[in-house]
Amino acid sequence: MSQGRLTRRTMIRLTLTGASLPLSGHAFAQDEGPVIAVANYPLAYFAERLVGDLAEVLFPVPPGTDPSFWRPSIADISAMQAAQVIALNGAGFSDWTTKVSLPRARIIDTSAGFADAYIATETITHSHGEAGTHSHTGTASYTWLDFGLAARQADALAARLIRAMPQSEATISTNLLALNADLAALDAAAKALRAPLAATASHPRYQYFGRAYGLEISAMEWDAQEEVSEDQWQALEQKISESGATLFIWEATPSDDARARIATLGLTDVVFPPLAQAPASGDFISEMTKSITMIAQSLDA
């Protein structure tokens, strides 16, 4: 499932829903089949794997926008309110859910079942990119980077989808087995990494990955696609000296200059998109496999 496919489907859905405002969202959904609204790309991918063509998956966050800090429009929320299932990541992932009214009976918080396994973080407020100032709240939210937890999110989503689409239980259950097999393969590949290992990331995204797979990952507060200032380089050098990190993880592809500078610090670097947003090509499984392979290769080099 590529970004283009999701975007096209989403745009069609939003355009039609917006045109039918104010109150025909439910009727539209009933005419065209169930709609599953999701808060991030992993859930969009899981939902599409689970339901195939049996339902529409609505992931309204535009490409290039961080779903954690997305600011929806009125039409976006109207479309979400009309969905039969609203799948949230939980763990404080979607800031916007505290600024709108959603039908509680149709919401599934896919990580609620392992809330006791959430990772607490310090609250940090900062700004970068076009999103403006934002805070990383007190809970790490990229839960799916522990692929065991991702499978539990898929389980929770599948159970809720079966409640909404009981006639499709057999299909969803079969598809869940296949999805969980793929997630188990990712989990096994990540567990095979040569850990323990100290790493530093460009942004605090990898807490669950680090805990699950034995990597001690400290983090900078960098936007990988912005120029790194001299102060930021000095802060990185300080962090490396404290942590002994040998690996640097970029959440997005940085400039060639930045990668060259990382090399001068004696670090191996990899680009590991956490995939809160859809990749430009490939899908959740293929891109995660690629990232894990790159980490493994960098450790073996």
Binding site: L21, P22, L23, I74, S78, Q81, A82, K99, T123, G138
Partner: protein
């Protein structure tokens, strides 16, 4: 209905517990849009501007937050037909928003009829 709404607001205030964040909640009751604000610390903002925008992000009105952290304005069915976006910016430099969709408004209007 009012009891349910009060319970919802209390749960919502308690759930959203980000450090020192401005919390905004808006609802429609008896043809009036009621905006309530509060900091996550529990304090009430003493001043601030409330901007009311339509679905095209056009500013419909700007109001001053009252000393109890609330503001009210009459619901204009024509202007709110495609929903309302309520933005609040306090004098302390905090801001946040609440979205009222056409469904939210219609449901509240129907419940209070």
């Amino acid at each position: 209905m009012k009891t349910g709404l009060t319970a919802f607001v209390m749960i919502w205030w308690a759930t959203v517990s980000v450090a020192h964040q401005l919390l905004v909640f808006a609802f429609v009751e008896d043809g009036t849009v009621i905006v309530e604000t509060k900091f996550s610390t529990g304090k009430i903002p003493v001043s601030g501007d409330v901007r009311v925008l339509d679905a095209q992000n056009a500013v419909l009105m700007t109001l001053e937050l009252q000393s109890d952290g609330t503001v009210q304005f009459p619901l204009d069915p024509a202007l709110s037909a495609q929903g309302l976006l309520i933005e609040v910016a306090t004098g302390e430099g905090h801001d946040n928003y609440w979205i009222l969709t056409p469904d939210d408004i219609a449901r509240a209007t129907k419940e209070t009829q």
